[in-house]
């Protein structure tokens, strides 16, 4: 497949507006502004674009809900919090092609009737902050941002809002709270952000990769776009592969490429010729898969059928030497640290899980601890506001399901790993 999202990434100095424009940036604005906003929304709906942040919600539908709410003050938020462990795909666009994202946001704002946008950027991307602020400044200077863009009466203002280190702010309602200057704790839904979001105004929140698809989708039209990749979720997908593979990195492939293709054809297989043991297909909160799942196609529906999720498309590969108890420990430690504390099952559950894993890692575990872990997961499951708690138990449940032997062996050995 010819690269779309990463087309300009390898061009030297591609974050500069002149270089980006020479290579097609902002060329779709005129096409989009020649359409009615409702037609842009319908085009995205027809293309069946699904959100690339994790949940896979149909983008066009989200836009339609927001655009139908009466009132002139609406917001478009870009989720660049990219905190899901293993995920680094958006970083390539933020650093190398910020103008693709800005163009996507201008078109999206036009479609839903929002004249104000924010990019919620995670604190851990200091370089991206500099690049984005410069790119926005350049876009204002060229008249692509601000009032009366291209003389078509379209207005769009954009700025970066920097987070301060909280995974939970990648959850859309927590992101809104954080943008409003508050603690990043999720809100109850309904009302959904599409009707009452930032500052209680209709708001659309889309991931960096989702918004970056928009200029290409509009330029090529929904019919051509829908022919790329999986029928149930078309388009190009950025797969970020890390862990024990020969060539880790971000790969732009048609949605629905198999795990086997990604790991063996594109990433050069497992490091040191070792045997594959486990794969996390979509970031820390997606259930762990094994070698027998290598032929699953990496799209939303197929991964659910296989017992996992596409999440952010962050593939983490583990070889035969890895102790899965340690893997679950590292991930549970993360979730315990990041639970926002709003819901008791998540706040207490994640920290109890962490305590039990610490005991296991210190060689003080008992075989009963496996059942205790499962019991704690049960007290969290389905009892939280937002998906963090649900995500936190996935590494526990799936590692026990597929690698119970690792737990038993580790506990019986009485070994300790001081981590």
């Amino acid at each position: 497949m010819e690269k779309m999202l990463l087309k300009r990434v390898d061009i030297p100095n591609s974050a500069d507006i002149d270089v980006a424009m020479k290579n097609g940036a902002y060329s779709t604005l005129a096409t989009a502004f020649g359409m009615r906003p409702v037609d842009v929304v319908n085009e995205v709906k027809r293309a069946n674009l699904r959100g690339r942040g994790g949940a896979g919600f149909p983008t066009g539908l989200k836009w339609e809900l927001c655009s139908r709410v009466p009132g002139s003050l609406k917001y478009l938020l870009c989720n660049a919090d990219e905190g899901e462990p293993g995920t680094f795909k958006d970083r390539f666009i933020l650093l190398q092609d910020p103008h693709l994202l800005i163009e996507g946001m201008i078109i999206s704002g036009f479609a839903i009737g929002a004249e104000r946008g924010y990019i919620y950027l995670r604190y851990e991307y200091p370089t991206a902050l500099v690049v984005l602020e410069k790119a926005i400044e350049q876009a204002y200077a060229k008249g692509y941002l601000g009032k009366n863009i291209l003389g078509k009466g379209v207005n769009f203002d954009l700025s970066v809002h920097r987070g301060a280190g909280a995974y939970i702010c990648g959850e859309e309602t927590a992101l809104i709270e954080s943008l409003e200057g508050k603690r990043g704790q999720p809100r109850i839904r309904p009302p959904f952000p599409a009707s009452q979001g930032a500052w209680r105004k209709p708001t659309v929140i889309n991931n960096v990769e989702t918004l970056s698809n928009i200029p290409y989708l509009i330029a090529m039209g929904a019919d051509a776009y829908a022919k790329i990749g999986a029928e149930t979720a078309p388009g190009p997908k950025l797969y970020g592969v890390s862990g024990m593979v020969n060539k880790p990195g971000v790969y732009e492939l048609p949605m629905g490429t198999t795990l086997r293709d990604i790991i063996y054809t594109h990433c050069g297989g497992v490091r040191g010729g070792k045997k594959l043991k486990a794969i996390i297909p979509g970031g820390a909160s997606t259930p762990i898969l094994t070698e027998q799942h290598l032929d699953v196609t990496m799209d939303f529906n197929s991964l659910v059928a296989a017992g996992s999720m596409l999440g952010s498309g962050a593939v983490m590969v583990m070889d035969e030497t890895v102790n899965m108890v340690n893997v679950a420990y590292v991930l549970v430690r993360f979730f315990a640290h990041e639970s926002c504390g709003k819901c008791t099952p998540c706040r207490e559950g994640t920290s109890w899980l962490y305590q039990v894993y610490k005991r296991l890692m210190h060689g003080e575990g008992k075989l009963d601890d496996i059942d205790l872990l499962l019991y704690i997961c049960d007290t969290v499951k389905g009892k939280c506001f937002c998906p963090l708690g649900e995500g936190a138990i996935q590494p526990v449940l799936s590692s026990i399901k597929h690698f119970r032997g690792d737990y038993e062996q580790w506990i019986k050995s009485g070994k300790s790993a001081h981590v």
Binding site: E84, Y125, S178, M316
Partner: protein, 172 residues
């Protein structure tokens, strides 16, 4: 996070007008224009002060509260929620080393032990010469270069103990 807060000295100075430099006041006024209400500027205002002074203090939070006319309790609640607002000064170069899964699979714990030995400090402490401090991070989005760390704003990846030694030499 809570350990850090216990160490912070939140001295109460009720009624006293707290002043920061004009440059900071101007920067906060400028960033306020981006938001439809005053509270929106809480996070950026705290960032501005932390960038200038290296950390936040009780006075800083009171100042932001006064500047933005947001209740102190709300500013305090926000500031203490996030992991990367600091309550004590880091070293001249703050090392942020990732210990999440992708980095951990490729040896993050070995790198962290090496750093501890090399610098002679534990997580959160500053070296005697004030040059370095280090903290563990939950995924810095550099999984393709695991194990990875940030020194200040600079990224360094595919770390080995030898490479860490070379990198540290570059920071005075």
């Amino acid at each position: 996070m809570s350990d850090q807060h216990e160490e912070a000295h939140f001295c109460r100075t009720a009624g006293e007008k707290i002043m920061f430099s004009d440059a900071i006041i101007d920067a906060i006024k400028k960033v306020q224009q981006r938001y439809p209400d005053q509270q929106g500027a809480v996070l950026p205002a705290l960032h501005i002060i932390q960038k200038e002074y290296g950390k936040l203090t009780y006075e800083a939070m009171r100042f932001v509260s006064q500047q933005l006319r947001v209740p102190e309790s709300d500013v305090f609640g926000t500031a203490t929620f996030y992991s990367l607002y600091r309550w004590k000064n880091p070293g001249r170069h703050q090392i942020q080393i990732c210990h999440n899964l992708s980095c951990s699979l490729l040896g993050a714990e070995t790198m962290i032990k090496h750093l501890e030995k090399k610098l002679g400090v534990c997580e959160g402490e500053v070296t005697k010469d004030g040059r370095f401090s280090f903290i563990r991070m939950e995924c810095i989005g550099r999984c393709d270069g695991a194990p990875a760390m940030l020194v200040g704003d600079d990224y360094h990846g595919e770390l080995t103990p030898e490479k860490i030694d070379e990198i540290l030499k570059k920071y005075e």
